[in-house]
């Protein structure tokens, strides 16, 4: 697993290096470079549409703006920051990790852990009383391993013949 990760990271690194070489040779940023950033931004006017696929005129202009900024040598982070200051945090695909917004990241895992604890404690407490007696008293049909089941299937089949 670790090795695969290392190899992946290495491959990525190489790919990046090649990409930047290719990039340097071209006259300007390509549409793919623009989309790579636009993908991470959400259209400020349409609801819930990533900027790279939004078909409106406004979004085409925003993509052109990204291209301009890229050509001017801005970094990805700078462009994103620019959009946030212009249109607010809603252009980001996730809430920024500040203040109240932390709640969006914290609540689901906390609820899940609480659920897991409740489930575990429930299972343990359900198991304690008379675990053995139930296993014995329950009828065979309800309480069988896969092999027992196969045996029963075969027996039943024989009966039918």
């Amino acid at each position: 697993m670790k090795r695969i990760l290392t190899i992946t990271i290495f491959t990525l690194f190489l790919a990046l290096a090649f990409a930047s070489v290719a990039f340097a040779q071209q006259s300007g940023p390509t549409d793919d470079d623009v989309n790579a950033i636009a993908k991470q931004l959400f259209c400020p006017v349409c609801e819930n549409t990533p900027l790279d696929v939004c078909p409106t005129q406004a979004c085409a202009q925003w993509r052109a703006l990204i291209k301009e900024k890229l050509a001017a040598g801005w970094s990805e982070q700078q462009i994103k920051d620019y959009f946030v200051t212009q249109y607010g945090a809603r252009v980001l695909s996730e809430p920024p990790r500040t203040g109240l917004n932390w709640l969006v990241y914290i609540v689901p895992p906390v609820v899940f852990i609480i659920g897991a604890v409740i489930l575990y404690r429930g299972l343990v407490s359900m198991r304690k009383p008379a675990a053995m007696t139930v296993a014995e008293s329950a009828p065979a049909t309800k309480n069988e391993s896969a092999e027992d089941y196969m045996k029963r299937v075969e027996e039943e089949l024989k009966k039918r013949n």
Binding site: M1, I4, L5, I7, T8, T11, L12, T30, D31, D32, V34, N35, F42, E47, N48, P50, V53, P55, A60, G88, A89, R90, V91, L92, S93, E94, P95, P96, G99, L100, N101, L103, V104, V107, P108, V111, F112, G115, A116, L119, L123, M126, R127, A130, A131, V134, A135, S137, A138, P139, K142, N143, S145, A146, E147, M150, V153, E154, L157, K158
Partner: protein, 706 residues
Amino acid sequence: MLADFGYGILVVAFLTSVYSVGAAFYGHFEKKQKWVESARLAMQLTFPLLSLAALDLLYLLATNDFNVSFVYEVTSRDMPLYLRLTAWWGGQAGSLLFWSWLMSAFATAVTLRNWDRDREFLPWVVIVSSVTMAFFIGLNVMPFFEENPFARFWASTLDGSVNAYTFQPANSVAFPTPDMVATFDGNGLNPLLRHPGMIIHPPMLYLGFVSFVIPFAFAIAALVTGRTDDRWIRITRRWTLIAWLFLSLGLVLGGRWAYDVLGWGGYWGWDPVEIAAFMPWLTGTAFLHSVMIQEKRGMLKHWNMILIILTYALIIFGTFLTRSGVLSSVHAFAQSNIGPAFFGFIGITFVTSISLLIWRWADLSSEAQMDSMLSREALFLLNNLLFIGILVVCFWGVIFPLISELFTGQKVTVGPPFYERATGPLFAGLVILMGIAPLSAWGHSTIKTLGRALWKPLIVTILVTIAFVAFAFTNREVINDYFPYAIIGFFAVAMTAFITLYEFWRAARARSRAQKENFFISLWRLAGRNRRRYGGYTIHLAVVLMAIGIIGIEMFQTETQVSMSRGQKIEFSGYTIEFKDFYSFKYEDNRWVNRAEMNIYRDGQFLTMLAPRYDVYPDGQPMTIAGVRSTMIDDLYIILVNWEQGSADLAPFKIYHNPLVNWLWLGSYLFIVGTLIAAWPDKDPESLPARVRGKQTPVYQSTSAD
């Protein structure tokens, strides 16, 4: 005239369902069976009434009666008849009527059955169904909500302004005026919705939503009457399965529509509207599994109640969200007339249901104990935990932007990265569990018994996973950031597939040996004898196929955007794509069509020609139609972007390579087959007449009795 008639019928249907609620209450508390019977008949009367109203609306839609504002909003003269009719659910007011109509059909169907054994349930099933129906018809009927599908346009004689009202206001004349009627045209349905997927998708979803009301109604009936056995579950098992099938199909069709029409190369964007339809599916799926524990072991009665109550609340929530843009902001919510009504209804029904549950809490204690952490019931509980975990992520992600706006005034987006990161591990866990849980036995399992059934498929899985990784390393271009996750996903999927197939094979081989019959005949008869089990396995296999498609497109999708000149060729993901020609012309229905022709080659061999289109409708609404070459290995998906710059000399294209996505659609067909196997009526004790069944019931209840 016909519009007023339709409205009148709706008012009568509303009053009938309100009467049915009252009569059922009275009959129950006064112990007067006649009143309960009257309530049932009143509820059944809503079906012909609503059918009449629906026919009326369909007639208005078919005849282009643009005096009716709903007809004006969703149809236009250029639309073919089938689209004008299906525009019934193309707008909010019509959708609500569609909902009530389906509800009345289902409620009627369920109350036509033989009630001899379950007489005490009847008034409560009627009450729950009728309350739900009265709420939805009420939204149509009360002018305050402005959702009357029969409201008409009236032009004021004072200032000439035109507005839609249910009743004619003072100083006004009908609009369009007689001299305009012949030429006046409607708004027309959004072209994006003029797609077969979009025509069947809403009814499927609504069928799913509405049929989940039936198990909920029975659950409430069981709570009120204090029948704490699993009778309500047994009666509604098939309803639940069918509800679940429709809901699942609705979701898949929605995805297919997005893939075909929205032109962004995907099928699911974690949009709040999509999630709203997905949430009841999550609780419904959890419910479908956990009720089995109650049936087999008499446990988890509280939990099943909670799940069905949640499902009902989420269904109402989903119905509301899918049609209104209220989640976009707090203001949109406050401005919509029906928003507060929906939330009020959800709140009241939820609190009432939970109060009933608390009231009956002590009566619903378990009849058996958990014996092993590896028993089927323990693993099913884990499955429930994962489903609820996904639900929490979805629900929180959907409502968080509202919370943020409410408290800080800051608008935020909770987008795909959040959901993917949070739900990915949970989905993987579910897939693994889907393979292992069916191997464990009710009541008791050990590592040893599990291991015996597990080790052979596990070895095959490991070998296949190694082969997959080896393949990836000989084709380096597929390796990307997601690759480690893809390996985990692939492992989970392969394991579950092999375990499930092995289960089929083991059982069928044993039978074919014992019976000396053909293997496939054995398989067929085995599935026929235990439809529920093998239907379930088939559904699991279908989900595995769908997961393969999802892993393929989510983790290995590549895309590029290029402007190509005529005759230019580019290489992309092993394909050679040639821009051959470009046409721009006006089609007979007045839409402006931009059509590119692309030749696709692989290894120098001509494969096919794709024709991505960009249509612009007369009202300016554009529609992107992708050119897709679809195989079981991958989809090559080309769209024409920035159309206004497109010409034969230089046109901009966006090209997606979506590996394996076809497995997603293939899986959904198998899914239908599996659900039909599981829900197929058979001669199990449940469907036999009560007299015959009487002898067999003790066998069923033996576990729960001790």
